[in-house]
Symmetry: C2
Subunit: 256 residues, 2 copies
């Protein structure tokens, strides 16, 4: 398959050339997408252990070798410095700037972490009869397991659906073990400390609509938040909904 | 539940007291068992990345903090220095000695890695109609993904069963994502470079018996072999079939 025929490679090349600066959500159906976290090697050990201790929000799909920007396993030939459409740079825990290229920030000790994204199962849900809809992001009262300097609350995505669709969503996302797996909660949002009126992303809600059920999955924003709270010197992440598109087919990669 | 009533805790305490020095295989049914690898902190980062890159043979269930011998998540109150029945010590890549206690070898920079074991699903297979039988260990021609100094061939377990049982085994072990998951191969052993006459553990075979099928799973011995090949200064592992017994119920822990 030539690059032009390969939707994931074509998307990454368009981003590399600066022609694609918009979101990837729903834009490259069928391919596993990843959250990105780039840290100096000095912080990488604790971050690795943090991901290991929190597999639901932080399913780690690839760790690059220090200084090597190529994710050889998920997308041979790709370069994490140029092949995302939009990055956010944080310095000492503070949001500094957005970029479409991070080549000049990449260092000999930079390590990239690619963390499975729930965007990978949205298409599969749709094919199974659960239509795409709004996804909310919320902070919860669930504390993650700390590792070294990394700690903080679990961030979740919330999707609303009928009870019958919720059964299908439990069945189907259980197979996506490397992309957050099964829901970590469903039903009453307050049971996990979610305040419907205070989303991180999405429109504030008063109540769950009649006949709908709220389902919550671990979210790859969690480790980014933990890294920020710890005020690491330099953290580069993907901009929300601007994920790294891998060559892995989500229907295949999901199998444990 | 008191310690006496809790099979996993009772087993660990008997090992701590030196009263239990035999294998744990099939001995504490229903509880997740783990392979143990203890390494100095200096080798721990590459080993963590090695496990991340090879999740089938190396499903990492817990990493202790440097110097802390307590696996707080899998077995609160346990101590990896005393609570296994038998250890093997390797120095500079050479097998040095066996022990029933490693307290005097534990250092301020020691890190313990607990890696899910296929022993965790043997009981579940039996309840699903796949009787317990011989398990073989073989080296394969499959190369693992290297990380730093760690590299080497994949080691697998092999089980023989009827084709109907093989279908059940695929279904059931797919759920045990933190304990090697689904088989990585079934059928012709030579397709993955397995020489039936040269097992690491188990009786040599000439052929697969008529009507039987060979199923192969990633094995937690793989990372121990990789660590040995790299001639790390000090590696402490569990003795084969003398695993760490956790408090996790295998029927619960398996769920992604």
């Amino acid at each position: 398959m030539s690059e032009c025929d390969h939707p994931a490679r074509a998307a990454r090349l368009a981003m590399r050339r600066g022609e694609w600066t918009g979101p990837t959500k729903h834009a490259v159906p069928g391919y596993v997408q990843c959250n990105l976290v780039v840290l100096p090697r000095a912080d990488a050990y604790d971050f690795l252990v943090y991901c290991q201790r929190n597999p639901k929000p932080c399913p780690l799909l690839e760790v690059t070798d220090p200084g090597d920007p190529a994710p050889h396993r998920l997308a041979p030939g790709a370069d994490v410095r140029t092949d995302l459409s939009r990055y956010v740079v944080y310095r000492d825990g503070q949001r500094s700037e957005e970029r479409t290229d991070i080549t000049d920030l990449w260092r000999a000790d930079s390590v990239a972490f690619l963390i499975g994204s729930g965007m990978s199962f949205d298409d599969a849900l749709e094919r199974a009869g659960v239509p795409k809809g709004q996804t909310w992001l919320y902070e919860t009262a669930i504390e993650t397991e700390a590792a070294g300097r990394f700690a903080g609350p679990m961030v979740v995505t919330m999707r609303l659906m009928s009870p019958a669709q919720a059964v299908v969503a439990c069945q189907l996302t259980s197979r996506f073990v490397y992309n957050h797996g099964a829901p970590l909660h469903m039903g009453d949002p307050s049971a996990i400390g979610v305040d419907l009126e205070q989303p991180i992303v999405g429109p504030p809600l008063q109540d769950i609509p009649e006949g709908q059920m709220a389902l919550f999955w671990g979210c790859g924003v969690t480790p980014q938040w933990a890294a920020l709270r710890s005020r690491v010197e330099l953290l580069i992440g993907h901009a929300p909904a601007h994920a790294f598109v891998t060559d892995r087919l989500s229907d295949q990669h999901c199998l444990p």
